[in-house]
């Protein structure tokens, strides 16, 4: 009797063990507290929406999603991820929002045998010589969105450009990204402190310099202040190209002042394909706000995992690699494939802020600027 019971228990335990192994374990690490949480929430929501649409499954297997807040602190992110990988090995880690966190969690994830899939941060470090078979990026290489504006300014024949970015590494990278494709004269490169509230000083300089075009990379609060004050200063004649300055995360706060601003991007909510339209409608219905590129890229990431797990017939790490590389899913961006460095090869567009019929603001695609663009680091990548 006792023996039977024990045997039964062992069987049950075995069954549970295999059942658990059959689940796809995904940790979503994102910035969910602090001022930057709007971006992190888009990533969490975009990923969750995809999993919900797939019936709580990824590749036909039950999905076990753990959401982790990195608080935009690399050291904290490392501790949390390391703990999670040790206690309950994750097949995939999806995240983060910011490049600093990505650089920190790369080793803890990949050395523990998981795939790191980045739905936003696209550091150059891992795109060239440092590329890795365990890392996939579903967004872009960080330089690319900035170079879109540079290309557009060149195409339009703008002769004199005024550039503004925050005074830190990503700001310098952004302006270099713009300049890499801009052929005209740069009249000023203005670096502002990250916490600057008042942009009047910069606006006065723009008015004095009278450039043909202004390019700004002013993420978060900086961009909100800039856009509002730009309109208040009546600088309506000079077009503003931008990256991460006017997007769906900032538009609710910028209001009508943002209408007409341009943004270089790989996706916008009015993207004309069935997958994207369905995604935007479902997202707004569930979460009540207009999704931005962050949410779209996270949605694509879930669909990528879904396709890979299905093709590999499970979560075997080695079998997943060719399945992931194929990127055999319908992207909200239409054309999407991975280059040899596991960064996307995709089209880039110039989008413009406009008001929709229902009064909400969104970015809308105006023209394609780059077709099937490959980042400049991919050539240096030798995948080991």
């Amino acid at each position: 009797m006792l023996k039977n019971l024990l045997g039964g228990l062992a069987l049950a335990a075995l069954a549970m063990g295999t059942a658990r192994a059959e689940a796809v374990k995904v940790a979503v690490i994102s910035t969910l507290s602090g001022p930057q949480a709007t971006l992190g929430e888009q990533i969490r929501d975009g990923f969750q929406l995809a999993v919900d649409q797939l019936g709580g499954k990824l590749g036909g297997l039950p999905a076990e999603i753990t959401v982790v807040d990195d608080e935009l602190k690399p050291d904290l992110a490392v501790t949390k991820i390391r703990g999670l990988m040790e206690a309950n090995k994750q097949d995939f880690v999806v995240g983060p929002v910011f490049s600093v966190v990505k650089a920190a969690i790369f080793k803890p994830v990949t050395s523990a045998g998981g795939y790191l899939i980045s739905p936003n941060a696209g550091l150059s470090t891992f795109a060239g010589k440092g590329c890795s078979k365990d890392l996939f990026v579903t967004s872009y290489q960080n330089d690319q969105p900035h170079s879109v504006s540079g290309q557009f300014a060149t195409d339009q024949g703008y002769k004199r450009a005024f550039l503004i970015a925050p005074n830190y590494q990503a700001g310098r990278d952004a302006l270099n990204g713009f300049k890499s494709r801009y052929k005209g004269e740069v009249v000023a490169e203005d670096y502002v402190p990250l916490n600057q509230m008042d942009m009047q000083s910069e606006l006065a300089k723009i008015a004095a310099a009278k450039p043909d075009v202004v390019f700004v990379f002013l993420p978060g609060g900086l961009g909100i202040n800039f856009v509002k004050q730009y309109r208040q200063a009546g600088l309506n004649d000079i077009p503003v190209l931008s990256t991460f300055t006017v997007d769906e995360s900032t538009l609710p706060a910028q209001g009508d002042a943002a209408i007409g601003f341009y943004s270089g991007t790989n996706w916008a909510p009015d993207m004309d394909n069935a997958t994207s339209k369905k995604f935007v409608a479902a997202f707004e219905k569930k979460y009540g706000y207009v999704p931005g590129t962050y949410a779209a890229q996270a949605f694509d990431t879930a669909m990528l995992i879904d396709s890979a797990v299905r093709a590999a017939g499970g979560t075997d790490h080695a079998k997943l690699l060719p399945a992931l590389e194929k990127a055999d899913f319908a992207s909200v961006r239409g054309n999407f494939k991975f280059g040899k460095n596991h960064y996307p090869i995709q089209d880039f567009y110039l989008a413009q802020v406009a008001k929709r019929g229902d009064g909400k603001l969104q970015t809308e695609i105006r023209q394609k600027v780059l077709t099937a663009d490959v980042d400049t680091y991919a050539a240096e990548c030798v995948m080991k």
Binding site: S33, G34, P35, A37, T38, E41, N167, E189, D190, Y191, V192, P193, N195, M197, D198, Q200, S201, L203, A204, K205, A207, A208, K210, G220, G221, I224, N225, K228, Q229, Q232, A233, G234, L235, D237, S249, T250, P252, A253, Q254, G255, Y289
Partner: protein, 304 residues
């Protein structure tokens, strides 16, 4: 030349906003000897309440009045709940506790209003602009902020220098024990100062809301500048806070423009592009260091 005029105007207007925040901070610090890091939170709260009340009551002005009053009341509540237990404690205890209040309230604001930044529209009356130089219009609203700041400063100066409560506040700032020995209920005085300080910070938050993004943590940027202001001006001195706020405002805007130009004159190429912004963001701290070296008690010390 006109650029300089624009920059000066901006500097003055930033100075007025800083003064509104720093006035409460300097009094609380000066009179109660209490380091209140959570003062910036009042500024943030003012902005958030301003947005909410403006929506509910249907207008900027109603929002301004209601939000300033509620920020003041909230400040009093915080004082009663938390801060009054800290008066006798060491600076470190005060810093730790008020820092905790910052963290709690920032996350609280995020829970209530969400982490997405909010917008407050300018009052229609002041939403016009006038041409200041070719191609640049200057919003009337910014001039109005400077005007309102100046009016509040005069009112406050009159209150502190002409009324009995003001006299007690000044006396409290220079010698607290003596005032209390003379039979003045110092705790009631504290509460009055605290409420007014919190209200002014909230007032500044609503005024700034149409210009900048209303987001969690927006108080900390202002708080650091406000501390610089009160250290330069002399802790506890309203007059000092006023002068220092204008100095900091001007140095931050005019100086920032000038020093990048200067860096380009003296250095060439990438070095100039790097040195300029780096120096510009240090500028107000250099000024503070210089003031501390020459006049360790600030420009207008409250304690003689």
């Amino acid at each position: 030349m006109i650029l300089l005029v624009v920059q000066t105007l901006n500097g003055f207007q930033l100075g007025m906003l800083l003064f509104l925040v720093a006035a409460g901070l300097t009094l609380v610090f000066g009179v109660m000897n209490f380091v209140n890091l959570a003062h910036g939170v009042q500024y943030m709260l003012g902005a958030y309440l301003g947005v909410t009340f403006a929506q509910m009551a249907g207008g900027f002005w109603a929002g301004l009045v209601l939000a300033s009053l509620s920020a003041g009341l909230f400040g009093l509540a915080l004082e009663w709940l938390i801060f009054r237990h800290l008066y006798g404690r060491s600076d470190l205890d005060q810093v730790l506790a008020t820092f905790g209040v910052i963290l709690t309230l920032n996350e609280g604001v995020r829970l209530i209003w969400g982490s997405a930044p909010l917008e407050l529209a300018m009052p229609r009356l002041l939403s016009g602009s006038f041409a200041l130089m070719e191609g640049l219009r200057y919003p009337v609203y910014r001039v109005a902020i400077a005007g309102l700041g100046l009016a509040v400063a005069l009112l406050l100066a009159a209150g502190v220098h002409r009324t009995r409560a003001g006299m007690l506040i000044r006396a409290g700032a220079s010698n607290r024990d003596m005032v209390s020995a003379l039979g003045v209920d110092i705790n009631r005085l504290f509460r009055l100062v605290f409420g007014i300080g919190a209200m002014l910070a909230g007032f500044a938050g609503v005024l700034a809301a149409p210009l900048i993004s209303v987001e969690p943590g927006m108080g900390e940027n202002v708080l650091i500048l406000a501390f610089v202001v009160i250290v330069i001006g002399g802790i506890g001195s309203i007059r000092g806070a006023f002068a220092a706020a204008i100095i900091v405002g001007l140095v931050d805007t005019v100086g920032r423009g000038a020093i990048t130009g200067l860096a380009h004159l003296m250095l060439t190429g990438p070095a100039a592009a790097k040195v300029g912004p780096a120096l510009a963001s240090m500028l107000i701290y250099l000024v503070m260091a210089a003031v501390l070296a020459l006049r360790p008690a600030g420009l207008f010390p409250a304690r003689a």
